[in-house]
């Protein structure tokens, strides 16, 4: 027993020494994201956000050089996620972890954080529950409930009394369904039917037939960004639901900017709510878009994960500033609690209690921009939105 | 009935085409019977029907007084109705010894045991050794079947069948494809088959048939057209027609 303890002590000692010796050396940041595979575009946006931030704010903090290490996690795979995080922490000696696109991947990393003495800054994974699993997690993206919530009132105010919800049958889809239902019913509307469709659905016309038959005047939907959104929006138009005047509401995942060229005219007029539009009009965003476009290599590939990554890097820089290069996860996280700044998406703040980002949610409409390309045009702002899925204690 | 094995009115048709028509024959213990007939007469179909590889449209197969028509191929083997194949069906990666050992273990009901070693049973090993030795296969007993001569493979087919301790053995052209230099070995093996065993042999080689069989049945177009002594067969007009006449004609009887 005592021998075991002594070994443990030696191990801790070795760890402490290694973190001391890291002082004033290069500080490594490990970013895990889907850089290949079906979600490669989202991963590329992570990278663009990170590189944009470093291009605009320098590659060092207080004299500490920052080195970013990317690790590819093509699809949700907690075992691989854990293995990558472990390698980054133990082998590459990163002091900060960032990225993570999918919820289960984040769930696999959080149990490691305390031992690793490493904070995790989530650039995307959007389930409320992640924040409860470790006090060393900070999130700079959004939750599905957060971006969805305002739509309930918007829909009701636009005269929709009966709505139908259609979501992809997985965690975020169910979150979105619940959030909309709650907000819409609180506003006085009624959700007449809730459809959950399998993730791999490719032909949506039968779903549209259901929507038509339901007699609802508003359609709320949530689909993961990518190929299905294209089919869904096309089916909405082709089956004549648009012409029939059924109102369409969705969180902005559905009209993410990188999908807009493909959606084309079919998406025109669609109203979505989200925390960020590439077209957001502010000097901060102008600078960001310019840098990020350069990093990603094409304006039409840029979309929301990049801003999550950009702000995530901001948080990590602030953490480094506060700890001055020493590996101290708790101090780092404490330093950014309550931190507020002006992000490309608008004013944001890290809540001290939830460590989740509080931000504006915008109602946007797909419209032609000045250069003839489709954009998400912001038409209404809901300021200072917290995550409604998170009970604040 | 004293018959060990009996087939009654066995018929099979695929679609409208009758390939076996009301075949009946019976065999006693120790009998040596040859089944001959021109190509396409339905000999192999008959073996398949008898051993249960295919289901008959009508008729019965009776073994030891028991109707086995409703039983599957495996159960019939376990009752003692065993066959060899016209084209050898052996496991090219396994050795003759492994073939026979596996068969013996199966017969003893030990073949699907997990917690025992394949070679762990000395009684089985001895018996396998004896069987292979009796057929002159001991020298190649531990070589992969894919590497031994075809004649030896044919002998192995017989060895496997014997390992099952059959009551009735159906040999589907045991000498087919064997170089003529090697046929004596096969013949020798056939002569040494256990005396109490009823053997039905399908064969093209008439010399072999005449030396082996005490009784001959001729099948043509799925029908028995002759049954009698080997010495009578050549003189029978129906048989002559079936072999020598326009056999397309004989087929179109159907």
């Amino acid at each position: 027993m005592t021998a075991g303890k002594r070994i443990l002590g030696a191990a801790v000692g070795a760890l402490l020494m290694s973190s001391v010796s890291a002082y004033a050396e290069t500080i490594k940041v490990g970013i895990i994201g889907p850089f290949s595979g079906p979600f490669a575009l989202q991963g590329k946006n992570f990278q663009a956000g990170v590189e944009a931030y470093m291009a605009l704010n320098g590659k060092s903090v207080k004299g500490h050089d920052i080195e970013v290490i990317y690790r590819d996690l093509p699809a949700a795979n907690p075992a691989q996620s854990r293995a990558l995080a472990q390698e980054l922490v133990v082998k590459e000696k990163v002091q900060y972890l960032g990225g993570v696109y999918f919820t289960p991947d984040a769930m696999a990393i959080t149990p490691l954080l305390a031992q690793a003495n490493t904070p995790l800054v989530i650039f995307n994974a959007a389930t409320s529950a992640i924040m409860n699993t470790s006090p060393l997690v900070v999130r700079t993206s959004f939750t599905t409930a957060q971006t969805t919530h305002p739509l309930g009132k918007i829909a009701f105010d636009e005269g929709v009394k009966k709505a139908i919800t259609v979501v992809s049958d997985y965690g975020p889809g169910v979150d979105a369904e619940n959030a909309f239902k709650k907000a819409f019913e609180a506003a006085g509307g009624q959700v007449t039917e809730s459809i959950r469709m399998p993730m791999n659905t490719t032909d949506f016309s039968p779903i549209m037939q259901r929507v038509r038959d339901s007699g609802a005047t508003g359609l709320f939907t949530f689909l993961p960004s990518g190929p299905p959104t294209l089919g869904f929006v096309k089916a909405f138009n082709e089956t004549g639901l648009k012409q029939a005047g059924i109102k369409f509401y969705a969180p902005g995942d559905l009209t993410q900017e990188s999908d807009l060229p493909a959606l084309g005219a079919a998406a025109e007029g669609l109203k979505t709510s989200f925390h960020y539009a590439v077209s957001h009009d502010s000097p901060e965003n102008k600078k960001f878009v310019e840098a990020a476009t350069k990093a990603i290599g094409g304006a039409d590939q840029l979309s929301f994960p990049s801003v999550g990554a950009y702000d995530g890097m901001h948080v990590i820089y602030k953490m480094i500033e506060a700890t001055d290069g020493k590996q101290d996860a708790k101090k780092a996280v404490d330093a950014v609690k309550g931190l507020s700044w002006t992000s490309p998406r608008g004013p944001v703040r890290i809540e001290a209690d939830t460590r989740h980002i509080t931000q504006n949610i915008y109602l946007r409409e797909v419209a032609k921009g000045a250069d003839g390309k489709y954009i998400n045009k912001e038409i209404q702002t809901f300021a200072d939105q917290k995550d409604p899925g998170m009970p604040t204690q | 009935m004293s018959d060990l094995f009996r087939v009654e009115n066995l018929s099979k048709s695929f679609g409208g085409l009758a390939v076996s028509r009301e075949i009946s024959l019976s065999m006693g213990a120790g009998e040596r019977l040859a089944l001959i007939g021109p190509n396409g007469a339905g000999k192999t179909t008959f073996v398949n029907l008898v051993t249960g590889q295919i289901k008959p449209s009508a008729g019965r197969v009776v073994l030891n007084g028991e109707d086995v028509t409703g039983l599957g191929a495996v159960r019939r083997v376990r009752k003692g109705l065993v066959r060899t194949f016209q084209v050898t069906r052996l496991f090219s990666e396994l050795t003759p010894e492994e073939h026979v050992t596996l068969t013996l273990l199966q017969r003893e009901g030990k073949a699907s045991r997990i917690f025992s070693r394949f070679r762990g049973n000395s009684a089985v090993a001895d018996e396998a050794h004896d069987i292979l030795g009796a057929l002159g296969l001991h020298e190649v007993a531990r070589r992969k079947v894919g590497q031994i001569a075809y004649g030896q493979q044919r002998l192995l087919e017989i060895a496997i069948a014997l390992a099952l301790k059959p009551k009735v053995l159906l040999l589907d052209e045991p000498a087919a494809g064997v170089p003529s230099a090697d046929t004596p070995r096969i013949e020798q093996a056939l002569e040494r088959l256990p005396p109490s065993l009823a053997v039905l042999m399908i064969e093209h080689d008439m010399d072999l048939v005449f030396r082996f069989a005490k009784r001959v049945v001729v099948l043509a177009a799925g029908e028995i057209i002759f049954e009698g002594l080997p010495s009578e067969v050549a003189a029978d007009p129906k048989v002559r027609e079936a072999y020598l006449g326009n056999y397309a004609n004989a087929r179109s009887v159907a």
Binding site: A76, A79, L112 | L94, V140, I160
Partner: protein, 333 residues
């Protein structure tokens, strides 16, 4: 006589003995490689543990594909059954790691029984499609039963108690790896006995010619079903190991993608030797890890090129290279 080819007796007695020695050496080699992994890559133990878990899955596929000739693209159903069973048990208070592995094995075996009973009704391509359909149904079921499985968010919060009450499952992953390695070795040795048993020989026979096996008086279906159960237990243990070491169970563990990847690893390594399964898993996952770390964006081309190169250079899988090598050496001697 030409039939009595000579030299037949040369290899007779020593052959069995040599095979026996070969297995002892092989197993020692695996243990040595495992230990070497532990000393050489002490910072990558989580990856190594993941490889061990997947190796169990690939071994289980080898039992079915390599030894019975039943093609499957749905083996992750059994892996996932083990993972979720262990995960759900753990969340509900059964935290002893060895018990969890046992639970995984049982769940995998039961899933194997179900899967085998369905798949063995068909042959060839149809069988392959049944396996796909089954794994998709399992996946769908796991997604639907989110109250128990966490659905697409994953089943999180597995608090596994220390192994033997002493060794923690921690960040460095030493416990998980060493336990996984020991498990893999035990399973491998057990499987070597299984495939060398009469039952294993029967399976090999069925793979080559089921009709012949029937003519030997042996039933085919129950034998294959039994192998499915064994295979399920092995896959289930792999799943449980993954669950224990990751502390999260995701839907990916019952996915078609995992099944297909594992089959690719097996074919890459070579079928029907058990060694091939391990070689394929280590090479595929090691290579993937390496190239994806070098270029996280475009590594897939490299993996594709590896597969094509293997088909061209060693159509029988990588393990066939070793056999060819030892054969050519034996020829010279």
């Amino acid at each position: 006589m030409q039939m009595t080819a000579q030299a037949g007796t040369v290899s007779a007695a020593p052959r069995a003995k040599r095979l026996w020695w070969r297995d002892v050496v092989g197993i020692a080699l695996i243990a040595a490689c495992g230990a070497a992994g532990y000393w050489l890559f002490p910072d990558n133990l989580a990856l190594l543990t993941r490889i061990v878990a997947v190796a169990l899955l690939v071994l289980s596929i080898d039992l079915i594909v390599g030894y019975c000739g039943v093609a499957t693209l749905g083996q992750a159903a059994l892996f996932g059954a083990g993972a979720y069973a262990a995960g759900i048990a753990c969340v509900n208070g059964v935290t002893e790691p060895m018990t969890l592995i046992a639970i995984g094995a049982v769940a995998g075996a039961v899933a194997g029984l179900v899967m085998g009973a369905i798949m063995l009704r068909a042959h060839g391509l149809a069988q392959l499609v049944l396996s796909i359909a089954i794994v998709q149904l399992f996946h769908e079921a796991a997604n639907k039963a989110s109250a128990y499985t966490g659905g697409s968010d994953g089943l999180a919060g597995l608090m596994v108690s220390p192994l033997f009450g002493i060794f923690e499952f921690d960040l460095w992953g030493k416990t998980a790896y060493l336990m996984g390695l020991a498990l893999l070795l035990l399973v491998f040795i057990a499987l070597k006995f299984v495939v060398a048993s009469p039952f294993g020989m029967l399976c090999r026979g069925i793979k080559q010619d089921p009709l012949r096996i029937r003519a030997m008086g042996a039933f085919v279906f129950p034998v294959l079903l039994k192998m499915f159960v064994i295979s399920g237990a092995v896959a289930g243990m792999g799943g449980a190991l993954a669950a224990i070491s990751t502390q999260v169970v995701g839907l990916d563990s019952v996915s078609f993608e995992l099944s297909a990847n594992a089959l690719v690893m097996l074919v890459l390594g070579g079928l029907g030797t058990l060694y091939g399964a391990l070689i394929g898993t280590v090479i595929f996952m090691g290579f993937e890890h390496m190239v994806s770390a070098i270029n996280p964006f475009h590594w897939m081309t490299m993996v594709g090129a590896l597969l094509i190169a293997v088909v061209i250079a060693a159509p029988g899988g990588l393990s066939s290279l070793f056999e060819r090598f030892s054969a050519s050496r034996g020829g010279k001697a």
